[in-house]
């Protein structure tokens, strides 16, 4: 027996989330922006970065861990690059400011890069990379985050998931949008395997002593492994360099990030060679395609690349070849018709948000 899912309208959810953020002190424009990022994630099927984050964000704003009224400020400036102090604002507020700056610099110089320090969790990276799309630019967004993983060979969690997002316009095909963390799978998949008593594939996780394990219980005591072993570890270091080392953000375990649960301030448990650094760090890049070759040539080439991939002979049991982001565009198209499906988890988090703000759940 499956229950018919309950759907909620995009507009009602957008209004609810916006009013919640205003209720804890954000200005209307900022509140609308953060609400939009959460709804966008819901529409795209990225529920991990959707409305379930609402109560955590609200609590962090209420208790002052995140400054609801902060305005990001420029602290270093060169023609094609800039450094922004997020002033402990919502990561979304700092990221909008920074990606807009990067796009402006790219408009003037062909490419623009903006690093951010003293920010917070910025939600789904794809949202920021995709801001480049209406500008006919390629966008890149990356961020460091709360420690979740050990360096290769170690067992101490010293690096975040450090996601990278890249978005490129297509022509008659959809844009290409990659948004990936550096672990093989999210922790939720390990928990699911544990519940089902299923062994894990090789390469997903290690136990508490750093040995590769296929046992989900041992994996939950241990830690997630990066994609391609030392390769994913290397990519995480690169994201840390660009997001945090060059921005002056807190690095690795020095980062007391806005957590996914309330009261995320854990004490520092690890040896940290600290050199200052404050808050979460991001790095944004915009590339103005038309400075390289005519835009219609580029988009025709992206379309050709998409169609070439789709012309691959299919593997056993596969229905079609997908491009990065394609599944999310399909989901978004469907949910713009149906509204957003309300899982028990999302409904429960909306009730928590309502209790925190006295805004009635739609």
């Amino acid at each position: 027996m499956t229950q018919a899912p309950v759907y909620q309208s995009v507009d009602a959810l957008q209004e609810f989330a916006t009013r919640c953020f205003v209720a804890v002190g954000m200005e209307s424009n900022d509140a609308t922006l953060v609400a939009d990022t959460l709804i966008a994630a819901e529409l795209r099927g990225v529920t991990s970065h959707g409305l379930v984050r609402l109560p955590v964000y609200l609590r962090n704003l209420k208790d002052g861990q995140v400054d609801a009224r902060a305005r990001p400020v420029l602290i270093a400036d060169a023609p094609a690059v800039a450094l922004v102090n997020g002033q402990r604002a919502m990561g979304q507020v700092a990221s909008k400011h920074a990606m807009d700056l990067a796009i402006g610099r790219a408009r003037g110089h062909g490419i623009g890069a903006v690093a951010v320090r003293n920010s917070n969790h910025f939600g789904a990276g794809a949202y920021w990379a995709m801001l480049a799309l209406p500008e006919q630019m390629i966008g890149v967004a990356m961020t460091n985050g709360a420690v979740a993983r050990a360096p290769t060979g170690g067992v101490t969690p010293l690096l975040g998931n450090n996601p990278i997002a890249v978005a490129s316009p297509g022509g008659s095909e959809q844009p290409i949008v990659l948004d990936m963390a550096q672990t093989m799978v999210a922790r939720g998949w390990i928990k699911l395997a544990a519940m089902r008593g299923q062994p894990l594939p090789d390469g997903w996780a290690q136990d508490a002593e750093g040995r590769p394990t296929n046992d989900p219980a041992a994996a939950l005591d241990g830690s997630l492994l990066p994609i391609g072993g030392y390769k994913g570890y290397g990519l995480s270091i690169v994201v840390e360099l660009l997001s945090a080392a060059i921005s002056g953000a807190a690095m690795g375990p020095a980062l007391e990030n806005m957590g996914f649960t309330a009261g995320a301030h854990e004490e520092r448990r690890y040896a940290v060679h600290d050199v200052g650094g404050v808050g979460t760090g991001h790095f944004f890049l915009a590339i103005d395609i038309a400075r390289f070759l005519p835009l219609d040539q580029y988009t025709a080439r992206v379309d050709a690349l998409v169609r070439t991939m789709k012309a691959s002979t299919l593997g056993a049991g596969v229905e079609s070849i997908l491009l990065p982001g394609e599944r999310e565009f399909v989901t978004e198209g469907r949910r713009r018709e149906t509204g957003v499906p309300m899982s028990d988890e999302v409904s429960s988090e909306l009730r928590s948000a309502s209790e925190l703000t006295d805004i009635p759940v739609p």
Copy 2:
């Protein structure tokens, strides 16, 4: 019984390789450059991109597939970005030209990006990213290449290994240098497992029907899998966009690349949605650190990040935590003392090079 390895001096190898390239028509400066890239790879222990490539490079130059005298030319220009036509030169000649341009643009504007079309195999990507290091910049290099892999869900090889290299200066610690292809392992590891009759770990390869396989023989009939499954596939697409789509290089299977064996021109076997595009494509990025924050602050922060990683509790059987590129710096330090170890394979390729050029092997 192990035989004592024979070592050859760096200077003698550099002179030999340079004379070989001059013998097939290259100018002295260009010949010295390409020889240097091969010796650098040998010193760093990246033998796959070292002197074993010499005969292939020489044959491609002799038969005119690669133009020994070509000069790369600028075909699009904006303040912080440029597009270069490699004019069918050696990839190394085009890449030196392009990375120098990117560094110059970064000097002027904070960041510089240069895309290249109509180039050839550029050797090890780390060499180009590392050109940024003496300039106190962060360097990035990527390239597309001969098809070797299927898109996720498919079985037709439509994408190259599409490596990404990133280099950052350190302070008192070594620079961080990541240079990674997008497959879990190189094909050589599958062959080794086949010879030894050992099963493959999950996630390394698929069979000819696209099913995951642990059987090395089935894997050799099938294809290598990317790191993190669809994540590595997505990264390969991003490299294809930046190296080839935006540069006007040949994309995916349309690329008739300079091969690792002579006569690499295979007929096109796959459906290709072609929109022109010529030769191999590269993408180079240079970021001028001091435009973001004082250089000594940055390098102190990189050192702190390195030491924080090394302070991790070690996994069972692990002696130390390494940073990306650290192993190569250790190897290089040793080989600058001992010279380059001459394996049977390298010795044999040097003899082939000698036969092609009448330059005596040192």
